[in-house]
Amino acid sequence: MSALSEAIALKVHYAVGAPAWRSRAGPGRVVRAVDGVDLQIAAGETVALVGESGCGKSTLGRALLRLEEPTAGVVRFEERDLTTLSAEHLRQRRAAMRMVFQDPFSSLNPRMRIGEALAEPLLVHGLCNSRSARERVAEMLDVVGLDRRVAARYPHEFSGGQRQRVAIARAVIGNPRFVVADEPLSALDISVQAQILDLFADLKDRFALTYLFVSHDLAVVRHVADRVAVMYLGRIVEMGAAEDVFARPAHPYTQALLDAVPVPDPTRERARIIGRLQGELPSPMAPPSGCRFHPRCPRAMSICQRDDPSLLPVASGQAVACWLYAPEGGAPAAERTPVSLASP
């Protein structure tokens, strides 16, 4: 099956500090937000992209919609290379690929009525005239569980959950095929999170959508994702079917992420050993040598400090970038000895 959305050897780097036209950016001034990623998303799938803040997951999500300029590599949507499209052709493609943002308080124009905001995708792509747009907007408000009359009101009159419903409606109106949702729940209250998650599931069935869910919270994406990709410092370190990744996380980083999620049960929660990860996320301007996770990895070996592991399939079904799973002979036995990493 061919991919609906695809990244091939994608890199997104950007300079920080002075604007590009006057910076003499040395190598240390470049953030390697996405640093060599291959990802395929098939039509109808829900893929979750998880990782800590600063790992590049949002940049990757945006790059798939070409809202970020790739430094190297290719981004395809429906088999067309988005990186070579003209601005106008790209703009037209946006009818089919959309985005939901994290913060519903900043993702809606405060000076546009809800109805205008929702009609915008229909009007700019000439999908209908302004009269029929009004009807489509009203229908869409029904679908996302809002009163039709809210079309005449402004975003500030609504709660975070209601605004996120509006933002989702804007993302799915006019029948797009692919939606990237960037942390769409993390700004919402917990009881509202479940409502919005239900809404995403409902819309997927109704409009045959394909989702990329970008999230820092593994627990949240567990029930919606078909596949999970775990990102660390600009790279995907583990990728596989959701049931495999959650049941048998292979990469030590995935294991640490899963370990860190609290469980609402005092007996088990108190017995859990937490905080096993050493140190902090290194700067994406100067990623560590070898495996980027090795300075924090509880199972680091000598080879990890030197050689970068590639993403390879392992027995439990998923693909992992970790020397622990390298086929025999991939590394000499001497280099598989665990190293003790003195905490700083």
């Binding site: 604007p19 590009a20 036209w21 919609l65 809202l67 703009r91 037209q92 493609r93 946006r94 009818a95 959309r98 985005m99 943002f101 994290q102 913060d103 900043s106 993702s107 809606l108 124009n109 405060p110 000076r111 546009m112 915008e120 995708p121 700019v124 792509h125 402004y154 500030h156 933002a167 804007r170």
Partner: protein, 276 residues
């Protein structure tokens, strides 16, 4: 229910009176502004000793009725002020919008223009320009717009730099909204509040600068009554005949106050959050 915006009402009232006076000048002015009454030169206001009842606010050094001149003067001051502020707004906001949104080279050029304008003494520029092309209404308006566009450009550029990073601008791009529409529907409306504030003080500034230009003798033909020209003429008589300068000065102050109050209120009113 929102509380009644009393200051806004007061501002509107002041402006309404000023506009009404300007429009009805031929009918309400007791005398022609240029009519000389040489027997009553330097007559004080009517309620002061020696005042004359046919010159309510007194007369100037050649016996022209101060009240009539203040009434007629409102025409020049208001039209010049408004036209200059609008022209400056158009010019400054557009340049600020382009600089802030496109950044890079566009921004570099516009920012350079802003800095040059700020560094160059405006009075010198005005004297030079008006000296070469001559005075007259249009020339004065253009010169005053040149004095105020920087206010708009700087504020709008700063606002746009902040707003273009907002998620809703990215969201517009993600949906496929063309650039022009993004500028007009997503960015410009969100700079409206500071533009209104700048417009209110720029109008005031234009009225005052127009007065200053007349004062320097490079503005509009001094025989046409304007508040600025009156101030200029009155300055020599401040000790002996204060009323020549004080009444046009008062008219300027009240109008400027009105514009500022109205601007403040308009800014609140434009904010969708304040809509009941």
């Amino acid at each position: 229910m929102r509380p009644v915006p009393w200051l806004g009402v007061l501002g509107s009232l002041l402006i309404a009176v000023a506009v009404a006076v300007a429009v009805t000048a031929p009918w309400i002015a007791p005398a022609k502004p240029t009519q000389l009454d040489l027997r009553a030169r330097l007559a004080p206001p009517a309620w002061v000793d020696g005042g004359k009842s046919n010159h309510l606010l007194g007369t100037d050094n050649v016996g022209r009725d101060v009240l009539s001149r203040v009434i007629w003067g409102s025409r020049i001051s208001l039209t010049v002020g408004t036209a200059a502020a609008l022209l400056g707004m158009l010019l400054g906001s557009t340049l600020g919008l382009l600089a802030g949104y496109f950044r890079g080279g566009v921004d570099a050029v516009i920012s350079w223009l802003i800095n040059v304008q700020l560094a160059f003494p405006f009075t010198l520029l005005a004297i030079f320009l008006l000296g070469t092309v001559g005075g007259g209404f249009a020339a004065v308006v253009v010169v005053l717009a040149l004095a105020t566009w920087v206010n708009y450009a700087r504020i709008v550029r700063g606002q746009v730099l902040a707003i273009r990073e907002r998620d809703y601008v990215l969201a517009a791009r993600a949906v496929g909204v063309p650039t022009g529409r993004t500028l007009l529907r997503y960015i410009l409306p969100n700079t409206a509040a500071p533009i209104v504030v700048v417009a209110s003080f720029s109008t005031a500034q234009a009225i005052l600068t127009q007065a200053a230009l007349s004062f320097l003798g490079v503005g509009i033909d001094p025989s046409v009554p304007s508040w600025g020209a009156m101030l200029d003429e009155g300055r020599n008589y401040l000790q002996s005949a204060w009323w020549i300068a004080v009444f046009p000065g008062l008219a300027i102050a009240l109008t400027v106050l009105g514009v500022n109050l109205l601007g403040d209120w308009l800014r609140d009113w434009l904010d969708p959050k304040s809509a009941a």
